[in-house]
């Protein structure tokens, strides 16, 4: 079961940021590889989430007319 507070948007944004950082070429090789590794990890998490997580339904109020 995945964590309840999984923030898809935040993780996706981070993946995009890593891509930009690497494209900028401002990092040294060591830092670049570390960021790339982090990017791979996030990408895997996001894909796992999309493939495995279920939608949950919370019914807020019984319809009194039925």
């Amino acid at each position: 079961m995945l964590k309840k507070d999984f923030n898809f948007t935040q993780k996706f944004n981070e993946l995009e940021n890593i891509t930009q950082e690497l494209e900028s070429g401002n990092l040294d090789l060591d830092a670049s590889l570390k960021r790339f590794e982090k990017g791979l990890k996030i990408a895997a998490e996001l894909k796992k989430r999309l493939r495995e997580a279920e939608n949950k339904i919370r019914v807020l109020k019984k319809n009194r007319n039925k």
Partner: protein, 360 residues
């Protein structure tokens, strides 16, 4: 027989009539609102008419002469004048023509008030996690929305508020639903308000001022999908986004997971390319460095060789070979003739040997 005063009589008649609640259908005529508080009009058919009255705050539809309505209310008298009036409690619009007129009147009013303004429309987040759903549980719309959400996206929490989607109860339910979401902190990304197709009368709740204002007052962006593609309701104008059908509403709210997986893969690919390009650029710098090192070595070598030949040219033996000679006396090089006297034996060095001579 009891003798009434005029006031007593009017009051008595009014009390008697007020016990009756009826529904009368007819056409509106001479509609007016006085002092912004009192609503007057006549209800007529082709033979007769009577006066109708209600307070302005109880008027929830836009009335106009010529509209067909059903009035629920009670007959009675004004006790002062004894004039007859029908006290209106509820107004129901009748017939497509009347509904269309009402639609246009209310549309104009809400538009002027800014409820449809483009600049207040909110954008939907890219990747929603929590969405509100306001519809009827029995409707096909509910099943459609749920199916599309499931097919397209994952990990959503759907807060479903079941409502009636037709008639007076729909109006009350929908207002309550928005009030509920406004007062609970679910941090929703969007609310879908939807129902399936039907006649203009079926969809009427979505054309009422109350429901429009409820949508306008929502703290979360609202996607409306009422009826089929061709059905346009006033709620559609107020909502942040209008979807053609319930399924379409779900498509608008969540992206397709396949598309997002593709995007993720593309990002990772681009990261890989950046790393490759980085490595490549470092290799080029290294290449450039070793190339310039080669050049440096070559030029140094050249310099050394040049200096060697220069040094060689300074070797005195080279000079002797060109015909010069060195004169020594007692092992010392003689540069000054005054240092020599007669009969001194001097030594002359040539490139291939030496000669001894006596000074004259």
């Amino acid at each position: 027989m009891k003798i009434y005063s005029v006031t007593e009589f009017n009051k008595e008649v009014n009390t008697l009539l007020s016990d009756i609640t009826v529904c009368v259908q007819g056409e509106v005529a001479n509609f007016k609102i006085s002092q912004n508080r009192f609503v007057w009009f006549e209800l007529k058919d082709n033979k007769s008419y009577f006066s109708c009255f209600l307070m302005a705050f109880n008027l929830h539809v836009q009335l106009e002469d010529g509209m067909y309505v059903q009035l629920i209310g009670s007959p009675g008298l004004f006790t002062k004048s004894g004039r007859f009036r029908f006290m209106v409690k509820e107004i129901k619009l009748v017939g497509e023509g009347t509904l269309k007129k009402e639609f246009e009147l209310l549309k104009k009013k809400l538009e002027q008030e800014g409820l449809f303004a483009e600049e207040r429309k909110r954008t939907l987040p890219r990747f929603p996690q929590r969405i509100g759903l306001i519809t009827s549980q029995d409707a096909a719309a509910y099943t459609d929305v749920m199916r599309i959400l499931k097919n397209r996206w994952a990990g959503l929490t759907i807060y479903f508020y079941p409502v009636s989607v037709q008639g007076q109860t729909a109006i009350v339910d929908i207002i309550k639903a928005f009030a509920y979401f406004n007062s609970h902190d679910y941090s929703l990304d969007a609310i879908i308000l939807t129902r399936g197709g039907g006649s203009m009368e079926d969809l009427w709740a979505f054309n009422t001022e109350e429901v429009c204002r409820a949508v306008f007052g929502s703290r979360y962006p609202v996607v409306s999908a009422v009826g089929h593609e061709r059905d346009v309701t006033l709620v559609d104008f107020v909502a942040d986004k209008r979807a053609a059908t319930p399924s379409n509403a779900a498509e608008m709210v969540v992206p397709h997971k396949d598309d997002v997986i593709f995007q993720i893969n593309t990002l990772v690919e681009s990261q890989k390319r950046s790393i490759d390009a980085y490595m490549e650029s470092k290799n080029i710098i290294l290449d450039n460095f070793s190339h310039s090192l080669d050049n440096l070595v070559a030029s140094l070598q050249e310099k050394i060789e040049h200096n060697i030949s220069l040094l060689k040219s300074y070797n005195p033996r080279q000079v002797l070979s060109r015909g010069y000679s060195i004169t020594k006396y007692k092992g010392k090089i003689i540069k000054d003739r005054k240092k020599l006297k007669k009969n001194d034996i001097i030594e002359t060095l040539l490139h291939n040997g030496k000669v001894l001579s006596k000074v004259n």
